[in-house]
Symmetry: C2
Subunit: 355 residues, 2 copies
């Protein structure tokens, strides 16, 4: 079934999509339906604000990304930014630019994903804007969160001798993207006759299509009484993010190849694509894991923390930022980031780390 | 001179455009440069949040809108939503989607407009996102403001016998749009040989290209000790907005054609285009004036307030919403809104008010 959006109009569509939304957070006083949402936070909280603009063709490819997954991911990447400040996401506004190609049912699927993410993470949809667009789909989400006054964690607080930690494992979302792109090409070549083969690679797909924000890690750190000195989420690749922390904190770092957490499926897929798996972990984007530094005194607490891996330490700025390979060589970390890697599987360690 | 955006890259462009930004509001604790901005509000304030998504071809036409004006307007329309809640805008995030057609200089012009608006209204730019786009320009701005606890004014508080007020005058921005569209066609027909003729119509252009938010009215009401019972800004036309207030407040209304404030230039232009000027005032969009209701006890205060006009009163819901024409006829108000009017100058009273 396909219902044209024009049958509902802008106000009708918003009303339809946001039907039955109930505000769950005490800080959400008034949601959709006025010139602005009204929020109320107690004086002992600071407010966090982050925003993301996602455009079809640049950030997502609807030939293989289901709209519900896209909605979920669009919300979660914003939550991830709030957790990366040591906060808790509370409210979002959702703006959509939609071309005639999309139906009411498409928007329902997209919104179902956004609403599911909000439910899972306890976030309220308090406003937004829906407009027509000449081409494709545009999604702009702004998220508000809160944090105990004075407990926000910035990128600029890393100190010499601090330990560098990451949550989860890295590179899988990027491998998932490679897999989807490969199957898309294969399908095209076969004229749509074959079914894509994702057996044994489910984890990679999940990481790419339905990433989660690491609320659990932020909670675990809080429970353990560990206040990170610096933190950010890994959306553009470990290398790039670590350089942000080091530059803004005026420090250097050493990380160890052997300690970078990898999933088995990531390693297998990299092998298949003839790519260096460390390069994928360093520069593959969209992991949405947390990268953080803690004082060395917290070594024991983080060393035994589930889902957290120690990968190195902070040094004086003069020592620069380097990766120590398995065979003991030292390579300077470069901010390769996500985009260059997108060019294709020819990426190799030489393009990402330089002696 | 034309500098390609690719020479700077995403991070470089953001850095370049936001260079020298200083936070002026006490509530702005940390701006651009981390996963999220950090804001801090005292306990006696409530927080307001609004967002707008503007897309090239839908919301603006760069053949006659200078980028600096577009930037200014994009910010101001958000401020207007905050004032319409009886608040004060404090922070914005700015997300831009930009195709290759645009240069660094174009983005400088756009940002100069946004920064000028922020300076004029005392608002801080605390974050954003800049990304490439396949087509055209996309601007998504989210604005945070504050209001004394309990003083936010919603759309749903209008009461029977309340007076209906509007600020400024109506229909001019819509006439400005008509003028620009007419000159665009004329230029095309003449092959670019003639200069557009805007003499005597400067006010219309200004209203369309560089609207202002009515901070002054909100301050004047506060100083006079008038707390509106309902308020919103007029972005989709007086008719449509008044119906929002009446529907949400479960009341009816009577407004009087003779009291609707019009500028002389608006009337002249409507005459030239063979349009009914009342229709333009009722349904022309983008006025960004304030529409509000006050208790009848405040009659004297608002009657003598500069820039405020009384146009009618709130009634029981059963009486419906109607316009009383100069000759005493009663027409039901219809939510014609902005879009249908955009179709062209064939709009007439019969399409906007029905007996």
């Amino acid at each position: 079934m396909r219902t044209e959006i024009s049958t509902l109009g802008e106000f009708g569509l918003i009303r339809h999509l946001t039907e039955g939304i109930e505000l769950k957070n005490e800080s959400s006083r008034y949601g959709i339906g006025d010139d602005a949402a009204v929020l109320s936070y107690p004086a002992d909280r600071e407010i966090l604000m982050t925003t993301d603009l996602l455009m079809e063709g640049v950030h997502f490819d609807l030939t293989y990304v289901p709209l519900k997954h896209l909605g979920y991911k669009s919300a979660v990447v914003n939550f991830s930014d709030i957790y990366a400040m040591n906060g808790t996401p509370r409210q979002i506004t959702v703006s959509l630019g939609v071309s005639k190609r999309f139906s009411v049912e498409d928007m329902e699927a997209l919104y179902a994903g956004i609403r599911l993410a909000c439910e899972d993470y306890g976030v309220d949809i308090v406003g937004g804007d829906t407009t027509s667009s000449y081409t494709g789909l545009t999604i702009s989400i702004t998220c508000i969160g809160d944090v105990e006054r004075g407990k926000a964690v910035y990128r600029n607080g890393a100190q010499e001798t601090d330990l560098i930690c990451v949550s989860g494992d890295l590179g899988a979302a990027y491998m998932g993207l490679q897999l989807l792109e490969r199957e898309k090409l294969a399908m095209k070549d076969a004229g749509g006759d074959v079914q894509p083969d994702f057996a044994g690679k489910e984890y990679l797909l999940e990481r790419q299509l339905k990433p989660e924000a690491r609320r659990d890690i932020v909670e675990r750190l809080r429970q353990a009484g560990v206040q990170p000195t610096a933190m950010m989420d890994i959306s553009d690749g470990l290398s790039s993010e670590l350089l942000h922390i080091c530059t803004q904190s005026h420090v250097g770092c050493r990380i160890y190849e052997e300690h970078i957490p990898l999933d088995y499926q990531t390693a297998v897929m990299a092998e298949e694509l003839n790519m260096n798996v460390t390069t994928c972990a360093l520069n593959g984007g969209e992991d949405y894991e947390l990268l953080f530094t803690v004082p060395i005194a917290d070594h024991e607490k983080v060393a035994e923390m589930e889902g957290v891996k120690l990968i190195g330490h902070i040094t004086k700025a003069e020592l620069g930022c380097a990766l120590i390979t398995r065979d003991g060589q030292e390579f300077e970390l470069k901010a390769q980031g996500w985009n260059p890697l997108k060019e294709g599987p020819e990426a190799s360690p030489s393009t990402s780390v330089e002696k």
